[in-house]
């Protein structure tokens, strides 16, 4: 066993450097650029000591210790930012805003990577991973509801838009997961058909690949005249909410983007069934439907779920663009923030999006692992 974990060494060097860049900024109001404040100028020594100790402990070759070091580091930067906000705002004006700066974000990344690296090495079983995810989310909720970070600028942006925030979350999930559900309903049978008929596969997959290459902004743009035309010509379309801008075009665009991963991975999953197993299933007298449900689907499920995972993470990110055409979701904060040059409003849209994508990725990875045939996981 090595004396020092190589990634830990990289994290310690980078983390050390990040301690020497501004940890927070203080600005006179929400629009102007602020000036940076170093971490030692914030004068909260226990947290700074904790960060240094965490970076040091991250050098340990023992993954469990590195895991706790990462958690300690995250706790310390949170405490530091909370204390620092109090200190900075104490003798600043009423409109003053304080935000985490490069040092904080960098250390957040370093400690998160430390945890991720330790977890990769520990390789916990799927159910334990689910437990860890719940613990992490609970810790996040505690920080959120306790008001520890209530003085930060991003929290101020939240307070003035609390109701819109939760509506945006609901819309964002509807866009991302609703389009995924529709894509699965269309894409799964299409994938099964492509698996059985080579001709259809040769026609279908290049077409879906082509859809995937259309830049997202262009795709949303194309949807506007298309759905506007549908709204005016198809009777009843307008009544169910179809219009050139808003939710419908964003939703349709996301469904189109989702089709390739769903169809492609369905085909790949079904193709991955060993030829001898398929031949035996047919030779034993399973009907085509029985082959699909009893053999091909259970064996192809991990690959199929990997497709769903790709789509889920991709759509959570892409749904931000929907904000541009009035589709709602967190994208509306991002684009409002861009228009007002209010960085923290952008972050109010961007950070929850990143968090959603991360949670989705971890959850789907757990599902993919659970779907593997028993004989594979037993080894």
């Amino acid at each position: 066993m090595r004396a020092v974990s190589p990634p830990g060494l990289v994290f310690a060097i980078v983390g050390g450097a990040l301690l020497c860049v501004p940890f927070m900024t203080l600005a006179a109001n929400r629009i102007v650029a602020g000036h940076g404040v170093m971490v030692w100028a914030l004068g909260y020594w226990p947290a700074l000591m904790g960060m240094i100790a965490a970076l040091g402990a991250g050098l340990s070759p023992r993954p469990t210790l590195r895991l706790f070091a990462g958690a300690l580091g995250l706790a310390c930067i949170t405490a530091q930012v909370s204390q620092g906000a109090d200190l900075l705002l104490a003798d600043a004006g009423d409109y003053a805003r304080t935000s985490p700066a490069a040092g904080f974000w960098g250390l957040l990344a370093v400690f998160s990577l430390l945890i991720a690296d330790a977890l990769t090495q520990l390789h916990p079983r799927p159910l334990l991973r689910a437990g860890l995810l719940i613990v992490a989310l609970a810790a996040l909720a505690v920080v959120f509801w306790s008001g520890l970070l209530g003085d930060l600028s991003i929290a101020q942006e939240y307070v003035s838009r609390a109701r819109q925030f939760w509506t945006a979350l609901a819309q964002h999930l509807q866009l991302a997961l609703g389009s995924l559900a529709v894509a699965v309903v269309i894409g799964f049978p299409l994938g099964v058909l492509c698996h059985r008929r080579g001709g259809l596969r040769r026609a279908m997959l290049p077409m879906l690949s082509f859809l995937q290459t259309i830049p997202s902004l262009a795709m949303f743009g194309i949807m506007i005249p298309l759905l506007a035309w549908v709204a005016t010509t198809v009777p009843g379309a307008r009544e169910i909410g179809i219009a050139g801008i808003g939710f419908a075009p964003a939703f349709v665009a996301l469904v189109l983007y989702s089709l390739l991963p769903v169809v492609g991975n369905t085909v790949a999953g079904l193709d991955a069934v060993p030829p001898a197993t398929s031949d035996a299933a047919r030779g034993m007298g399973l009907s085509a439907t029985q082959q699909l449900w009893q053999v091909e689907l259970p064996l192809g499920l991990p690959v199929l779920l990997t497709g769903v995972r790709i789509v889920m993470v991709q759509n959570i990110g892409l749904a931000v663009i929907a904000g541009l055409i009035g589709g709602g979701g967190f994208g509306s904060f991002v684009f409002q923030g861009l228009n007002q040059t209010a960085t923290d409003l952008i972050l109010l849209g961007a950070l929850p999006t990143v968090l959603l994508a991360l949670v989705a990725a971890v959850l789907m990875d757990i599902l993919v692992d659970l779907a593997r045939p028993v004989s594979e996981t037993a080894r």
Binding site: A276, A280, A281, G283, M284, G285, S287, P373, V374
Partner: protein
């Protein structure tokens, strides 16, 4: 009885099986042997309609298979293949019980049948029932594959190179197991192989295929004695022919009165084994356990080329 009547299969320009006719008797092992591309697998796969014939007919006990629903026909026919094709996500018990379950047998009866088959293949039911194919050795997987094909007591069993993936020692044992179980159950088996030795050891009848045509269909002894063409002779391998011939005959055929020294040989052993024992121990005669003796000269006379 399975009647194959002028069966032909064309894939585009190539004719994989060219108007083959043969009759397989109930309760026998028929081995179809040929090189790769000879059409032997295609011929077999047309029996359970994994391939649809271009022309011709297959009748099982007088009933034409062409009019049956393919997957219902296949449930009546056992099917075992090279590389076993077990379902990796199902336990051994569930794999073996697959066809009975398709046929709607009651659960208790399936469980009983699974245990019976595991015992038949010398695998302790308690130890193997709940394991997954991935945890078994190659030989065990192959036995489970054959057990699965036998599970519903099918009228006919088709086996495509069932021992092809096994190493030579396990392979020999698997062949003996199959022969024993076939005698015990009286099943009708059609087995495809590229290995003439396997064909001669297992087959009651051997069908030799070459370029889609059936070139000889006869008992193994007849094939060795009178190969119908140079192709069959090449398949037999000229230098091994006398030994193959000896492996088909038994010590009991040549027992004569008298004594001999040394370890006795069983009357059921093949002449090939007796020859081997003579050469190894440097004796000219062996005592037979059931009485009498067998001489090297007598064995040699049997191996001579027929005039």
């Amino acid at each position: 009885m399975i009647e194959i009547d002028q069966l032909t299969k064309r894939f585009g320009e190539t004719t994989a099986v060219d108007s083959v006719s043969m009759t397989v008797e109930t309760g026998t092992i028929t081995v179809i042997v040929g090189t790769s591309g000879s059409g032997k697998s295609t011929l077999m796969r047309m029996i359970n309609r994994l391939e649809e014939p271009t022309s011709g007919q297959v009748r099982i006990n007088g009933e034409a298979t062409g009019t049956m629903t393919p997957h219902l026909l296949r449930r009546r026919i056992g099917y075992a293949i090279q590389g076993h094709g077990l379902f990796p996500h199902h336990t051994v018990a569930r794999n073996i019980g697959a066809v009975p379950r398709l046929l709607g047998w009651p659960k208790a009866q399936i469980a009983e049948r699974v245990d019976e088959l595991l015992t038949l293949f010398s695998m302790a039911p308690d130890a193997f029932r709940d394991r997954y194919p991935g945890d078994l050795s190659g030989g065990q997987q192959q036995r489970v594959g054959v057990a699965r094909a036998l599970a519903s007591r099918p009228d006919v069993m088709l086996m495509d190179e069932p021992f092809g993936a096994l190493d030579p020692i396990i392979r020999h044992r698997a062949q003996e197991d199959l022969a024993r179980i076939q005698r015990q159950l009286g099943s009708t088996i059609i087995l495809v192989t590229h290995d003439m030795e396997e064909a001669i050891r297992l087959g009651d009848r051997v069908a030799v295929m070459d370029k889609g045509k059936l070139v000889q269909y006869a008992r193994p002894s007849e094939i060795i004695a009178n190969p119908a063409s140079t192709f069959v002779r090449e398949m037999l391998g000229d230098e091994d022919r006398p030994l193959r011939q000896l492996s088909l005959m038994h010590v009991s055929d040549l027992i004569e009165a008298g004594d001999a020294d040394g370890v006795a040989i069983d009357a059921d052993a093949s002449l090939r084994e007796a020859l081997s024992a003579c050469l190894w121990s440097g004796r000219d005669a062996l005592p037979v356990a059931q009485g009498g003796r067998i001489t090297l000269d007598a064995i040699r006379a049997q191996a001579e080329q027929p005039a």
